[in-house]
């Protein structure tokens, strides 16, 4: 068969009649590789599709964390409620006397309204920061998108959050505070808190793999963060020319927003807008950082 120069060989049919091939597994092989394993050079973001495919593992890890959290404890899940409750008591004793600080709302309720989302955030960051390092055998022996680890640590706090919200509901009833449609913002704010916790968790857990200082820095960092998040006192305490500093901390606006949702005071939309933008940007940057360091986790952990 003669070929004209330039004609593609692929278009040429076989000249010999081949007998039908016996069944072999390679007939079922895809044309394109499922995975190409090589050194990645470019910047990657989180592969949502892959996380979705592994969602069952995410549920299992969440379920595992929830199940073991209160195993062999006497008080069990009551700890989810006791933690914010005790903090509330202490803050009330120390700060409750300051006149007018809680703007008409009884101080214990004021404090608890801030402490419930804050406790969720603090525990989420602490757990996710250590999630990779405390699961060494999973990181070094099994493949799965590593972001599932901090994500599971953050999301497993939702059960505790739910229990604390029950306590909060009880307190609201006790003090006779009525709910208005403002409360519809609460789930949105909780979602924002989760996103913020996840970003911080991704940063911390990725850094922790290589630099173990993070394990020591984290508790103290969270403590400092508490004081900058308008949990103890409202942001009105901060002089106006410094308030922009407070706005750099998304949690401050979120906590204030939670209180506004519960007590039907006006929302600070500008602060919330800034907080949302910061959280989104923070998440994207954290995701990139995590993905880029992910490739060397197993080597450094």
């Amino acid at each position: 068969m003669t070929l004209i120069p330039g004609e593609s060989v692929r278009g040429v049919p076989p000249t010999v009649e081949e007998p039908p091939a016996p069944f072999d597994a390679s007939a079922a092989l895809p044309d394109e590789p499922l995975v190409v394993i090589e050194q990645r050079r470019s910047w990657f973001s989180i592969d949502i599709a892959e996380v979705w495919r592994n969602r069952e593992l995410l549920y299992f890890l969440m379920w595992r964390d929830i199940k073991i959290r209160y195993k062999q404890t006497v008080l069990g899940a009551a700890w989810a409620v006791l933690q914010p409750a005790f903090m509330m008591l202490i803050f009330t004793l120390v700060f409750g006397r300051l006149a007018g600080v809680s703007g008409g709302v009884p101080y214990p309720l004021f404090a608890l309204a801030g402490l419930v989302p804050w406790t969720f955030f603090a525990n989420a960051v602490a757990n996710s920061g250590n999630s990779l390092v405390s699961n060494v055998n999973l990181v070094t022996k099994v493949y799965f998108p590593r972001v599932i680890m901090p994500a599971a640590a953050v999301l497993s706090g939702i059960v505790d959050l739910a229990l604390a919200v029950v306590l909060l509901g009880g307190m609201m009833l006790y003090y006779g505070v009525r709910l208005t449609p403002h409360v519809l913002m609460l789930p949105v704010l909780f979602a924002l808190t989760t996103l913020c916790a996840l970003s911080t968790g991704m940063w911390m857990s990725a850094l922790n793999v290589k630099y173990r200082d993070v394990r020591f820095a984290l508790p103290f960092l969270i403590q400092l963060w508490l004081f900058g998040s308008s949990v103890v006192v409202p942001s009105s305490v901060v002089p106006p020319h410094l308030r922009w500093l407070l706005n750099l901390n998304p949690m401050s606006a979120i906590i204030e927003g939670c209180r506004a949702a519960l007590f039907s005071t006006p929302f600070h939309w500008q602060a919330l807008g800034i907080a949302t933008a910061l959280t989104m940007v923070g998440f994207i940057v954290a995701a990139h950082f995590f993905r880029n360091t992910e490739r060397s986790f197993a080597d450094f952990i």
């Binding site: 072999d24 597994a25 390679s26 092989l29 895809p30 590789p33 499922l34 995975v35 190409v36 394993i37 090589e38 050194q39 990645r40 069952e56 593992l57 299992f60 595992r64 199940k67 073991i68 195993k71 062999q72 055998n137 999973l138 990181v139 070094t140 022996k141 099994v142 493949y143 799965f144 290589k210 630099y211 173990r212 200082d213 490739r295 060397s296 197993a298 080597d299």
Partner: protein
């Protein structure tokens, strides 16, 4: 046939800690280190490499075809586990790429993800999910997994209360039901008793018969020979040999075990022994072959000792104990029934004593030889434990199914006879 895994020039380089910097980095060290490095660069002395690097793998080119059972052998540190980690996507290659045309399930460690506080039942689901099985898949295979592990009574106890044997059995049971297109197994069979290993290898053979691809790393040459259709020998991060199992295994064993299956001491001054008797050469080899051939359970072996006798007139007697790898004695034999020299006084000089172990006697595995030389049946002149160590391989026939290691220190091929005593027609008794 198109390959299901295509590995192209894969290499993995690790940085190893030099004396000045520890493997763990703290932020302080990293900051100080980078400051120092930039200073060095500025002052023109930046070319000294602070850390040493080494290539765990280099230039690996390989195609694995669907349905193949590939065994990977090599000494410790050859890069076998690193290759598996790269294929399992746990670590990234420094150079090259691997293309996978099927889903991979890896067994790099048994019981990954088991949590002590959860019960056996919960851990089955957790471990299965971690290995990549879907919840529905685990639920479907649940009863089989429990049966494989023989653990139905203890399913509701927290795993931290299990004995190590129970733990292993449960972990293996879950792992054995993993059914990906490509199964990668890394020396997990080194732990667990023989019946365990047999169960798991049986399952792996079955997986392969279903048309899946298996990549298997092991130090157990018998298992590799029986399970694998192709063997790869890695050493120092590179492919040394690849191909037909018995040939590659033979070559591998020859280079690693020759030094132990024969010794020659040419200088009498440094040879083991004393002023009464001194060794010159010891060897174990097939009776009708050369030292190069590997030993199987079928081959008759000749064990020979060459030694100097320094005391004229001594009536020497050699006795040998053959032990298993763990040191249990299998049998002992002595030269007291030697037709030519037993009971007779030995002149001073060089002697060779040897005996033949018939084929189809020893079981497969590593065997240790202990030698004692006595004078006049009583006085112990010389003793040498582990004077020889040799590995006997299982003999493999085409098409047989391997059932695992035969129980017992010896494995004689005895002739069975079966005869019909009385035929009875089917009755309702």
């Amino acid at each position: 046939m198109r390959p299901i895994i295509n590995i192209e020039n894969v290499g993995k380089q690790y940085r190893i800690a030099s004396e000045r910097r520890a493997a763990y980095a703290t932020l302080r060290e990293a900051l100080v280190g980078s400051f120092n490095a930039s200073l060095k660069r500025l002052s023109g002395r930046g070319d000294t490499a602070e850390d040493k690097t080494f290539w765990a793998l280099r230039g690996i080119d390989l195609d694995v075809y669907p349905g193949e059972r590939l065994g990977i052998v090599g000494c410790n540190g050859a890069g076998k586990s690193t290759l598996l980690k790269i294929l399992s996507r746990i670590t990234e290659p420094t150079e090259g790429r691997a293309r996978l045309y099927g889903r991979v399930g890896s067994l790099l460690e048994v019981g990954t993800g088991f949590h002590g506080e959860l019960t056996g039942r919960e851990n089955i689901y957790l471990n299965g999910a971690i290995l990549g099985m879907k919840h529905a898949e685990i639920a479907r295979n649940f009863d089989e997994i429990v049966a494989f592990a023989e653990m139905d009574r203890f399913l509701n106890t927290p795993v931290k209360r299990y004995s190590s044997g129970m733990y292993m059995r449960l972990a293996f049971a879950v792992a054995a039901h993993l059914q990906p297109e490509i199964l990668i197994v890394d020396e997990v069979l080194a732990v667990g008793d023989a019946s365990f290993q047999r169960k798991c290898l049986g399952k792996m053979s079955q997986v392969s018969r279903d048309g899946r691809t298996v990549i298997f790393v092991s130090h157990n040459m018998t298992a590799v020979q029986n399970l694998c259709s192709r063997v790869l020998w890695l050493d120092g991060g590179r492919v040394v040999a690849e191909g037909e199992p018995s040939r590659v295994i033979n070559d591998y064993l020859r280079t690693t075990l020759t030094t132990m299956s024969q010794h020659t001491w040419s200088d009498p001054a440094t040879a083991p022994g004393n002023d009464k008797v001194r060794m010159r050469r010891v060897a174990v080899q097939p009776s009708d072959g050369t030292l190069q051939d590997h030993l199987t359970v079928r081959t008759p072996l000749r064990v020979s000792f060459e030694y100097w006798n320094h005391i004229a007139g001594a009536r020497l007697n050699l006795s040998v104990v053959i032990r298993t790898e763990e040191g249990h004695p299998i049998f002992s034999t002595s030269s007291s029934r030697d037709p030519e020299w037993s009971g007779k006084p030995f002149p001073a000089g060089l002697f060779r004593s040897s005996f033949e172990i018939p084929g189809d006697l020893l079981n497969d595995g590593v065997h240790r030889v202990e030698l004692k030389i006595r004078r006049n049946e009583k006085e112990l002149l010389y003793q040498h434990d582990d004077i020889l160590i040799f590995d006997v391989l299982d003999a493999v026939e085409e098409g047989t199914v391997w059932f695992g290691k035969w129980v017992g220190a010896v494995r004689p091929a005895l002739q069975w006879q079966t005869g019909l005593i009385e035929e009875r027609r089917h009755s309702t008794v």
